[in-house]
Amino acid sequence: MKQPAGYMNYLVWFLMLSVYLFWASSAQAHVEQGQAVGFVTGLEHPWSGLDHVLAMIAVGLWGAQLGNPAMWILPVTFPMVMSLGAMMGLLGIPLPGIEIGIAVSAILLGGMVLGEVRPKLVVAAVLVGFFAIFHGHAHGTELPAGQSGLLYSMGFVIATGCLHGIGITIGLVHRWPTGKLALRGAGAFIAVMGIYFLWQAVV
């Protein structure tokens, strides 16, 4: 008698699974689509390329090395100028040598951290802002169509800010002698990776 009951259980589970899998989804007329996708896509985008990630972390590291007020002026400058670059990309304004610019940004910013270079605040901000245009333009041209522009932008800017935040947080080890050395090591790593990105962009 146990066998028919066992088959019945299988049948029940099979039918239940079929209902779940094949039931028609809600007809979502008018409801705006792609909203959450837009935010998540924006949030993911800056993390999708190691060259971007390293350069943005380098901005935070350098800011932390330089101390106040550079520690927050550099991360404030970067997203604002980067969004100008992204706007250029959105509007289809060409910018030559984007990949080279991004690679050079990793080399120079990594080099700044490695050498613990302390230029004037304006010079540091201009340098960071200059490279932010390349990063922004690359993102701007890669922005997907059909998603909420606002939510994409929010995710994109927040993710960029978080990367700077990570850099600044790591950079706080600068107060200890060993930490200073570790930071310079991180700068060297970023610069070497920048050379690799440059090689990839050129070859």
């Binding site: 009951a5 019945m8 049948l11 029940v12 039918l15 239940m16 209902v19 779940y20 039931w23 028609a24 989804s25 809600s26 007809a27 979502q28 007329a29 008018h30 409801v31 927050w72 991360p75 404030v76 997203p79 604002m80 980067m82 969004s83 100008l84 992204a86 706007m87 959105l90 509007l91 701007g140 169509a145 909420s148 522009g149 606002l150 939510l151 932008s153 929010m154 994109f156 800017v157 927040i158 800010g161």
Partner: protein, 204 residues
């Protein structure tokens, strides 16, 4: 026989329950409907519309940065201006030809990032303008939905948001907290620049 009936009921139950649970819901069109009446629909509209929510929060942040007196002004003038703009919008027709939310993001974001000390009267004019313009477009949007009661909801939630956020910023003492607010402002401005780009591209 009895077992067969029992199994049949079991089967019916396991099929019917998912069917009831997965029944397609009604299509919801455009405006937020909470099912709790027009006042809550208005509250839901503001909370779920980042084009309005972010400028409102930014005004509250800026008011907090400016201090107690501007904060108190924002607490009353901003929601009232928003409501007034909304009432005007309820009785008018219109369409956005310039990216209003993007400009709000940009202007208020820059003011926060730069920590610009506007005179209190200028500050009042700014928040009244932002409130009037955003309220006007809310009025247009809510005309066919919750209407004036929705605007009451928006005004109420704006009062709460401005009170909580600006009071929080005023109360923050360590210097880094003020910097954190300024960094947030720079993010808002950056979003505004990107939104202008999207608008010029013909996609919002």
């Amino acid at each position: 026989m009895r077992k067969f009936v029992s199994d049949s009921f079991h089967l019916l139950f396991t099929v019917a329950l998912p069917a009831v649970l997965l029944k397609p819901s009604d299509a919801a069109a455009h405006l937020v409907t909470t099912g709790m009446g027009p006042v809550f629909d208005g509250i839901g509209h503001l909370l779920l519309t980042p084009e309005d929510l972010v400028p409102a929060l930014s005004v509250a942040l800026y008011a907090g940065l400016r201090g107690r007196r501007p904060g108190r002004r924002a607490l009353f003038f901003f929601p009232l201006a928003w409501f007034l703009g909304g009432v005007i919008g309820l009785f008018m027709e219109g369409q956005q030809v310039i990216p209003i939310p993007a400009l709000s993001f940009l202007i208020i974001g820059i003011l926060i990032a730069a920590d610009l000390r506007l005179p209190t009267n200028w500050f009042t004019v700014l928040i009244v303008l932002v409130g009037l313009i955003h309220g006007f477009f809310n009025g247009l949007a809510l005309k066919d939905g919750p209407g004036s009661l929705g605007l009451f909801g928006i005004m109420a939630i704006l009062f709460v948001l401005v009170a909580v956020v600006s009071a929080f910023v005023v109360s923050m003492k360590p210097p880094w907290t003020r910097i954190a607010v300024r960094v947030t402002g720079s993010w808002v401005a950056a979003m505004g620049i990107l939104m202008i780009g999207w608008f010029m591209r013909g996609q919002s």
